[in-house]
Symmetry: C2
Subunit: 456 residues, 2 copies
């Protein structure tokens, strides 16, 4: 049995009845969290550029865009995939380094809306999609991640899996679909040097490519049988090291979606433990910015590698500065999407605290990575008082979970493109998704008119 | 100056007036040759599967499909790209191992038809597209080719370049487009083990992805500045070895399109020198299949690696068997698309000769590769006569060119989906392309009605 066959066998057999209640509840939170980020992203420039391009192309009105209008399922996967990855608040799976929602959910939604499928069917598809891309990401981590954006490359398989499930592909068709997912997998990290918009193109294209692989397989289009482990396949071509065993170990006996983490702060995940501590310290103590003498932040290596920036020049860069993020949280008591803004980027109080933040590698914190993405923060006040805290798991990790209420609140804060009543109704519909007969009824709530095309 | 800037600078400055007459003539042959293969491929199962999927998606009627109907420029690039790579008769550039027409031409055509551009504009765009992908392919050859299908990966840059030229992108926009071409580049060889249909998906997706990168850049969408040479870019991620110098050496002082080779036989290029010799031997001598005692074929290494197959079981496999191809040519005196058919695959006379073909590595032929893709063939007859010939360059190579008449004849043989009068008119229009005001007038000749979509 090839690895693709093992995955196809797993997912074609999976039914809604196989899912424990906690998996159903968790999957619904993943879908709700997808929409929060996607709706918040839907007004951003890069997303509008993709959306306008797609509007020019046109397409049968099969699926709703989070921007405006309806278009083909493939086009919708592209736009809706790009849109959920821009405000840096989408979910993250540590073991595979994948933001799954922004790829898997839009591909699944496009099919579910188009084919008028139910909430239960969407939930099963999302669970299968997460399972498959997380396993592939774990198999190639960490070496693949050096050059490749796992969310895009490994995510493509997740989009294919979810779409294949909703299209009710056979096991054989699913193997072909997985083959053509792998051969389309792309997304290089090189853009990060320039902070280029490729970041959003990646998940959009992964959702679209993954869906295309599944749609073609439905027609009988064939792909490689061993796209993962083959001599000229995904593993060997795109990873220095890999562990095939991760694909099948405990497959069907656990649900990896439960390992997914949610972000409450609108910054790089590697800054979150420090922010969590800063927020707690502010809550539990009574001091002002002027009282601070210095701040010590103990970090693991990627926090230092990726977010050690003492003078961020753009909002985007500030989300990748552990010094700025810690200062922001100490001054404002939070680090939400709204907290990161042009005014506060240059705020002298925040910048004053930032200048006092000393971020260093902490041996204990570093040794616990990647199992724990923790931090230590010590605030020393001018009066001599020292406040010190450690957090091993940032809020939103499986080990430090957020509640359904907190995630609903996050959604309501993010989805401000919808009027408040619609926003509440929408979130409740998602949290009740297993009752929904037709996903099109859900998408109707986020629909705004656009230039539609129809078959002549 | 980054490599992307050098390429963007070259192509934004290139004008029709810069092109020597032989480049214009040659580019027209490349475009005509694209259409022959694309029209011949347009009725094949894998192409129909892609076309039907795209028809379901719909799109504004911007560009004509070689299958049927019109659709969006992006969708047309996908279908028309896939279609020209299936009958194994599309062009090949030895230095970069790229079949450029099947990726560059459909992307360019989609824009040219949509925007109602002229023949001259199309010609310049195709010349630029070939130049850029050939240079990138040469820079990463041969190591990239082990895992990656150069036509798809490097071809993406060619599609982007051609589309960017037609969209009149600025130098800066073109750099961004090249960045987003590279970050979408994909296409693994793993499918070849199964003879899977991914082979056709690759050039189709490369054309579509390349076009998307250009369309987005037109809107201001940004990409990596150093997608080729950057630390986490295309070269380092996807090639064991590479030579950056190939990108810029003599750039603007030569036209690499002139190095492009055309195929006259419907089989793997590595079998062509042997077929050429066999055809000549049959023409110049008087013997029958029964007279043959044995046939010795001297080969270079890839001929042995890829086409050493003494018992092909499918038509596709027979095109990758140097033994079958040589026997076919000795029995029938040709190896055209029609010559490869189900009946002749199992023909006892051809199979009888095939059993007498002994293919071996020839030191002299092998040493001359990859500059020369040659062969030696010795036919020993039962009467003791020995007929021996050597060919260093297969017919269609720049060093052994085919005439415009031969390529027109090839087109007329391939494009049988068009009635004969239309076929002749079409080929003459392409051979007169610099006179054409509007590419839409050309595409009208290959248009057949389909299910169109329109903006509501």
């Amino acid at each position: 049995m090839t690895l693709s066959q093992a995955l196809a066998n797993y997912q074609t057999k999976l039914t809604y009845e196989d899912l424990p209640e906690e998996v159903v509840s968790f999957a619904k939170l993943c879908i709700l969290d997808y929409f929060g980020s996607a709706l918040a992203g839907s007004t951003k420039e890069p997303i509008l550029m993709i959306s306008e391009t797609i509007e020019e192309m046109g397409g049968n009105p099969q699926a709703t865009l989070v921007t405006k209008g309806k278009t083909s399922a493939l086009n919708a996967a592209l736009v809706n995939g790009a849109s959920s990855h821009i405000v840096e608040l989408d979910d993250i799976h540590k073991g595979s380094i994948i933001h799954a929602a922004t790829v898997v959910v839009p591909a699944a939604l496009a099919v579910a809306e188009w084919k008028q499928l139910s909430g239960k069917e969407l939930i099963v598809a999302v669970v299968a999609g997460y399972e498959i891309c997380f396993r592939i990401g774990e198999a190639v981590s960490p070496s693949h991640y050096y050059y490749w954006h796992n969310t895009a490359t490994c995510g493509t398989f997740g989009a294919t899996a979810a779409a294949a499930k909703l299209l009710e592909l056979t096991e054989e068709q699913t193997v072909h679909a997985i083959g053509n997912a792998g051969t389309q997998a792309a997304g290089l990290w090189e853009f990060i040097v320039d902070g280029a918009m490729s970041k959003q193109l990646h998940p959009g294209k992964a959702a679209m490519n993954g869906l295309l692989a599944a749609l073609l397989a439905e027609k009988g289009f064939t792909g490689a049988q061993k796209i993962l482990e083959g001599d000229r396949g995904f593993f060997k071509a795109m990873s220095e090291e890999y562990d095939e065993g991760k694909i099948t170990v405990n497959l069907g006996e656990e649900f990896k979606i439960l390992e997914n983490a949610f972000k409450l702060h609108a910054s790089c995940r590697h800054t979150h433990a420090a922010i969590d501590i800063a927020v707690d310290i502010v809550k539990e103590n009574d001091f002002t910015a002027e009282d601070i003498e210095r701040v010590e932040v103990g970090c693991y290596k990627p926090t230092m590698d990726i977010t050690d920036n003492i003078d961020p020049q753009t909002q985007y860069a500030s989300k990748f500065s552990v010094q700025y993020c810690t200062a922001l949280a100490l001054v404002k008591g939070s680090a939400s999407l709204e907290d990161f803004n042009e005014k506060d980027l240059w705020d002298t109080t925040i910048r004053g605290v930032m200048a006092k933040v000393d971020a260093q590698l902490d041996p204990e914190i570093a040794a616990a990575y990647p199992e724990r993405w923790g931090s230590k923060v010590k605030v020393v006040l001018k009066n001599g008082q020292e406040i010190e805290k450690q957090e091993d798991y940032p809020k939103g990790d499986a080990e430090n979970p957020v509640s359904s209420e907190e995630l609903q609140e996050k959604f309501l804060q993010l989805a401000t493109v919808l009027p408040e009543d619609k926003r509440v109704a929408f979130s409740e519909k998602v949290l009740d998704l297993e009752q929904l007969e037709n996903i099109a009824d859900l998408m109707e709530l986020v629909y705004t008119p656009g230039t539609e095309t129809v078959t002549r």
